[in-house]
Symmetry: C2
Subunit: 511 residues, 2 copies
């Protein structure tokens, strides 16, 4: 039975496939002393439209260096969905004599197409494995098991991949038997740890006689992560199956444990729910790592999804009752507080002609009075936040407007808004595929059809900004660009770092 | 089948059984909405000689409060080894009508004695459970299974406790069958998560029909911790066995997850090794949480222990070759650097008559010259540290002296000290049961038998100190007290916060 460590490949989901070269040296040197057969060092890939780092492309100088340092067989993986047979030569010719095993991540639906790819790669002299994803769904692909015979001689290892992290040992045993009935190809197992079943499942696979299993140091890997290499080695050692010096294991575990303090891979309640209910962890990982949504709203969305519904509350469509000449869209920046007096002064001059729309609840405590017309745009998690911001909000002159149904995270109507909540029919102008609060506010404003839209509290960010803040900043800039193409007058009246927002100082508007 | 959550009881190993009352309120209220039957809130205990907090004693006002808040059955646990039948009334009479279930933590060797205790408690009207520890060792107690029949009618639940966290589902199934052959008592399972097998083992126990299983929120519990309540509930829910609102689960998981950032319970390499090799985690928990030993040395010690030896290297006994009038013991404090010039001046006046003994490698870079006679006292982890302090140390005029064999953490002889390492035969004067670096230095000094011992770098601690530093400070004070009882002249020549150290300034000694 062979062991394969895929820390750099699977851990790259957290680091964008960039790793300290010192860490990689420690990794390679430690594994030279550990009873693991293959190290999967990353992807090879055609150029992708996103930034993806060193180990997503594994240029030749990387493969050269690791080949020189490592005494182990090296593997890389290809995403079948992004690679056609005609790409194989350019991607893999440089790997010859450096890489031993080419793995292919295959969706069940593309199994037949992948067989063609495999034949080309095999002819180049590589070992080939199929990492056949979504093992818990295999039964739903009518042709899949019938095709498995064709992997014989074409694929060296056929992996069962527990993509959702939701299978149990009995599922592993059953599926292995099911495949064995069809094909004599050597088998592998790649487990995820959402339910902390990665070890139990892998031990079941080993008992069933699979020929190769995967793990990663500290379990580093997409979402909840993988079987931990240190756990697998410790258990196999205690069973007398392998021998090694624990100092080398500890040497490679230590620095990844430190890295884990930053990236926090590993399972938690949202990953457990997604695993137990076979929901892809790609989406959950985005929600969890952005720290934008509370566990509560993630759990609510997941349990909606697990019950086969995306959202369970449909609201009346928003139609503006009043006519306003001016809409003020309120962001979350501190400029609102800093210029509060002037802003109130400005609104009070024509308050029945002004409608405030809140993109974020953060600044709404500065507008507690119910003299103003106020709309709370409640995208994503904002319903919870609004409720947390005001313990008992008087909703006179206020309504809430949600994005179009169905909403990805479900619908949470905050207290006192039960009969004052509406939804957009669609994103009419701002065609974007998420629940951007700014886009929602603009859509509401456009329906109101004012003479102008003013922005306050769209400050941009200072100092150290999180990845999420950068993303939000870029997204807002794109939205402002789109707004600029429409026939509407808009500008910020508080200081802003957004290039796309023109500014007319709030003070210049006051007499 | 019943579920019992024992977060406060088992989590107390990390917080010394003190918990924020707000956290406890959230805990109790959330569980009011979750399908768990029992909450174990802590211990009841006779006074112990250590500080142990609120939930180790569960005074009546605590039980009153939780009883008023909770809709669940409440449990407390007793340590059988500390409780005799005659203590039962004083400990448990106050629990009547507040507590439903009394659990007793029982070692296999004391099983028979515990039966007597159980009868007394049962007569008081409580439900009783035995948490019978070390299930993987049960077979080694010849009388144990024969006595199990006697639990019928005396014990409501007989728990299999996987104390080491090292069992597998097949062990659970076998042991359950083994007990069932002997007794009809209802069974329970309490799993630990060293090998991330707590869920797999608990599911096996449930399949075998046990009547109650334990878990804790976020797995909080001694050492590697327990089965996670949120994981068990999520899995049972996905299997259609229980229903609940995930918002309540998320509400109680969130604050414990934050607490986990401070205390870092959960499994890691040392706990895996101890689990896989049935080594008690009490000791490992001390090593891991003090952050004093590197993972490397913990692993070395554990793998020694798992091979049935405490240490594998015996060294020649230290016998002083030279006679010195003065010994200077060097601690790790910054005063050594601050007064370096004066210290060197002092030593150089009579350098063949002075021997330096280093309790810590921290200050040894200030004495790089090999003109001085130097001894490195290498307790605990110090061998590794010395090696890391000097990349390539010239050992002329230097030797290393270790504590007596066998050493708890094993023996690490640093590079270049292969033929220059010795050990004490015993701690002759400083009778202490650990590897205190200061005691080791003093023993070495006493063997040299100088006219006086001077201390430098024993500064004590300023500002925010860690729990470990407080412990070290107190330990050193006790050692200085012992030294004071002997007929030897000793004092510090650098500033010190140790009450037990007299001071003669290094400057007063210089002319």
């Amino acid at each position: 039975m062979k062991l394969l460590d895929c820390t750099l490949r699977d851990g790259g989901y957290y680091t964008n496939w960039d790793f300290d070269s010192e860490l990689v040296d420690t990794y390679i040197q430690s594994f030279n002393h550990l009873p693991v057969d293959y190290l999967e060092i990353g992807y090879r890939s055609n150029p992708q439209p996103d930034y993806l780092g060193e180990y997503f492309y594994c240029p030749v100088y990387v493969m050269d260096r690791l080949k020189a340092e490592s005494k182990k067989k090296l593997a890389i993986i290809l995403n079948e969905k992004d690679v056609r047979a005609e790409d194989v030569n350019s991607l893999l010719a440089p790997c010859k004599s450096l890489i031993d095993l080419i793995r292919i991540a295959v969706k069940p639906a593309n199994f037949e197409r992948a067989l063609g790819l495999s034949k080309v790669i095999k002819k180049m002299g590589f070992e080939v494995s199929f990492n056949l994803m979504y093992m818990s769904d295999w039964e739903t692909f009518p042709k899949l098991f019938g095709l498995m015979k064709e992997t014989e001689g074409v694929v060296d290892y056929l992996y069962l991949v527990d993509s959702y992290g939701g299978v149990y040992p009995e599922d592993v045993r059953l599926t292995i038997k099911r495949v064995r009935d069809k094909a004599d190809t050597k088998l592998g197992f790649h487990g995820h740890n959402n339910l902390e079943m990665a070890l139990a499942n892998t031990l079941a696979a080993i008992e069933e006689g699979v020929n190769i299993v995967d793990s990663t140091v500290t379990g580093m890997g997409r979402g909840a992560g993988n079987l931990k290499t240190e756990l697998l080695l410790t258990v196999l050692n205690s069973k007398g199956l392998i021998e090694f010096n624990y100092n080398w294991l500890s040497k490679v575990t230590d620095p990844f444990q430190q890295l884990q303090n930053n990236y926090e891979w590993g399972t938690n309640l949202p990953y457990m729910v997604s695993g137990a209910n076979s929901i892809p962890q790609k989406k959950v990982m985005g929600w969890v790592t952005k720290r934008f949504y509370s566990f509560n709203s993630i759990i609510r969305a997941l349990s909606n999804q697990s019950q086969g519904r995306k959202d369970n509350i449909e609201l009346p469509v928003f139609v503006p009752n009043n006519k306003f000449d001016k809409v003020i869209i309120v962001g979350g920046g501190p400029s609102v507080k800093n210029h509060k007096k002037a802003i109130h002064n400005l609104i009070n001059r024509e308050k029945d002609n002004v409608c405030l729309i809140f993109a974020s609840s953060k600044n709404s405590p500065h507008f507690k009075s119910n003299d103003y017309h106020q709309i709370h745009a409640l995208s994503g998690n904002e319903g919870y936040r609004l409720e947390n911001t005001f313990s008992d909000l008087n909703t006179e002159n206020r309504i809430a407007v949600f994005p179009p149904f169905p909403r990805e995270m479900g619908t949470y109507v905050p207290k006192n808004f039960e009969n004052k909540s509406y939804q957009l029919e669609e994103f009419y102008e701002m065609k974007i595929n998420n629940e951007s609060a700014t886009a929602l506010c603009i859509e509401i404003a456009l329906l109101i059809n004012p003479k102008e839209i003013q922005f306050i509290g769209y400050d941009g960010y200072d100092g150290i900004v999180s990845e999420y803040e950068i993303e939000l900043f870029n997204e807002n800039n794109i939205i402002f660009e789109k707004l600029d193409e429409l026939d509407i007058n808009f500008y910020s009246i508080t200081p802003t770092k957004y290039d796309q927002l023109q500014v007319k100082s709030v003070y210049s508007e006051l007499s």
